[in-house]
């Protein structure tokens, strides 16, 4: 049984994705990411000298500042800053530039559902644009549990209206899919390929444990599609590093 979505998408269909890099000229790296109507702008400054007081000086430090579209900065923004910071810290190679701080600014331009995943994708592309060394990219997806039980239904990339109506949703972040040139394929950990591991998971609302695992499966399938989109986007648009020529 299919669920009727307001914009006519099927349950596994993502909204149209658009990503452009190097849009801000003063920032060391910048990217704008939009999924349907949700649009987020990310800017990266760094690495700058020195770390903050409580941080480890033997590693690079990442600082995230989240600016909402309207209103004052509250607990939601602080929580998103912390999640983004820890996610980005796990994908960046922190030992390359010790005792430095890289600042990531996120500006919400429009929120129509899946805000945190869009921000994570935008921040990742901005870090690539700035040339910060990373282990792999972070690919983020939002899944929503429409119906629980045997005929469980999980829909991908919900809009804000869908998020509010449904029982529960989960924001998942996976590493990007690997194209391996080795004959034996990509390395696997515990029998599962690396791109199946979860970097970050934030859930909201009540769902059964089986629903969550079903969300993970759908999320992994979608992250493969997103990884391909990122790969194409990064290969097409060479960064205009020299404007003098």
């Amino acid at each position: 049984m299919e669920v009727d979505r307001e914009d006519g998408r099927s349950q596994n269909q993502l909204r149209p994705l658009a990503c452009s890099r190097n849009i801000l000229h003063r920032a060391h790296g910048s990217a704008s990411w939009s999924q349907g109507d949700t649009k987020v702008l990310a800017a990266v400054y760094g690495p700058k000298a020195g770390t903050k007081k409580n941080e480890n000086p033997e590693k690079a430090c990442i600082e995230v500042i989240w600016k909402p579209k309207t209103g004052q900065i509250g607990k939601l923004e602080k929580e998103y800053e912390m999640i983004l910071k820890r996610t980005l810290q796990s994908i960046c190679i922190l030992t390359v530039n010790p005792n430095t701080t890289t600042s990531v600014m996120i500006q919400v331009v429009n929120d129509d559902g899946a805000l945190l995943p869009s921000a994570i994708n935008a921040a990742c592309m901005a870090l690539v644009d700035a040339g910060i060394p990373m282990r792999h990219l972070a690919v983020s997806i939002s899944c929503c549990v429409a119906r629980s039980g045997v005929s469980g239904l999980v829909i991908l990339d919900p809009t804000k209206l869908e998020e509010q109506k449904m029982k529960a949703f989960a924001y998942l972040v996976f590493p990007n899919s690997v194209h391996s040139v080795l004959p034996e394929g990509s390395p696997s950990v515990q029998g599962e390929p690396i791109e199946n591991g979860i970097i970050t998971s934030v859930t909201h609302g009540t769902m059964s444990v089986d629903d969550y695992f079903y969300c993970l499966e759908r999320g992994r399938a979608a992250s493969t599609k997103l990884s391909d989109f990122l790969r194409r986007n990064l290969q097409q648009q060479p960064t205009n590093s020299s404007k003098a020529g």
């Binding site: 409580n54 509250g74 607990k75 939601l76 602080k78 929580e79 912390m82 999640i83 910071k85 820890r86 996610t87 980005l88 810290q89 796990s90 989960a170 972040v173 590493p175 950990v189 515990q190 599962e192 690396i194 199946n196 591991g197 979860i198 970097i199 970050t200 998971s201 934030v202 859930t203 909201h204 609302g205 009540t206 769902m207 059964s208 444990v209 629903d211 969550y212 695992f213 993970l216």
Partner: protein, 300 residues
């Protein structure tokens, strides 16, 4: 620089405490190889948990929860207010989490802890989406008056697993909560009725009543490090091995939250299943401890 070799040579000469401070990760890994932790707990066991209800006498409901050294004090005060127009027959719960400087040497006055707003928001989301409290029960006169419950949780000692202890304290405070008796006075306002003998004012609710709790949420935080899963970390363990997964299950085994905020270790399906299994065990333990605390209060 030969640091790994240096520590190997030094391990026989340096005192245990110095080794713990200089090479914390090696110190923990030596223990993990033997499937044990420095405080002699096996990897899957949580610390000793106690709950004391009624810790704050002036509050309508309160509890003090301790998981190992982590101590949380929760108190609920009720106030009558006008309900919002969109939900005229529902009350409201406002949840706030504070980390005063007493709890930890890294929290200083004037510089709020980074963890405080994050835990406050997580608690708020979990408690409101768990369905533990039916907001319609908090209504007094539809459209005119409803209860507003202010839940404040103070961290008195921050030694890891802050969210778990805070959630436990909140749940225990709600189970201890007694809604006071109120009556409608001549101006049409709700007032607290102190004496029960007054006959000219009809009480809106006859006696102090307890809130009916729906399915109660319980949580467990686990740390992932290489192939090990450590349940209920202390602050030292959390600062060294940074990848943590918090699973919140309610008493009917529904997943309320699976929170993994980044972290160097990727969580595969098997690790998640192990975390959920550890949480299920912990839910049973915590249910027993909470029931004992409640029945202990009722005997008095």
């Amino acid at each position: 620089m030969g640091l790994p070799n240096a520590s190997g040579d030094l391990s026989t000469e340096v005192e245990v405490d110095a080794f713990r401070r200089l090479f914390p990760l090696r110190f923990f890994e030596k223990h993990l190889l033997e499937s044990i932790r420095p405080d002699a707990r096996p990897l899957g066991r949580a610390r000793d948990t106690t709950i004391a209800l009624g810790a704050v006498a002036s509050a309508n409901g309160s509890a003090l929860a301790k998981i190992g050294s982590t101590t949380m004090l929760a108190a609920i005060k009720m106030e009558v207010m006008a309900p919002s127009i969109e939900t005229p027959d529902e009350g409201c719960i406002a949840i706030d989490f504070h980390m005063p400087p007493i709890c930890s040497p890294i929290v200083r006055p004037g510089r709020p802890a980074e963890a405080a707003p994050v835990v406050a928001k997580q608690l708020s989301d979990t408690i409101l989406s768990s369905g533990m409290i039916n907001l319609k029960e908090l209504s007094l006169v539809s459209g005119k008056a409803a209860w507003m419950a202010y839940l404040d949780i103070y961290c008195l000692d921050a030694d890891g697993a802050l969210f778990d202890a805070a959630l436990l304290a909140a749940v225990a405070a709600f189970s201890h909560l007694e809604i006071p008796v109120v009556s409608l006075n001549d101006d049409g306002k709700i007032v607290l009725s102190e004496e029960q003998g007054l006959s000219d004012r009809e009480p809106v609710n006859k006696e102090k009543r307890k809130v009916n709790l729906g399915s109660i949420p319980f949580s467990l935080t686990c740390i992932l490090h290489k192939n090990y899963i450590l349940a209920d970390p202390t602050a030292e363990e959390e600062s060294i091995m940074e990848t943590s997964v918090t699973v919140v299950l309610d008493s009917s085994s529904q997943l309320l939250s699976l929170y993994k905020p980044g972290g160097a270790v990727l969580a595969y399906t098997s690790a998640i299943q192990d975390c959920i299994a550890l949480t299920r065990q912990r839910v049973k333990e915590l249910q027993k401890i909470l029931e004992e605390a409640i029945s202990g209060m009722e005997v008095d």
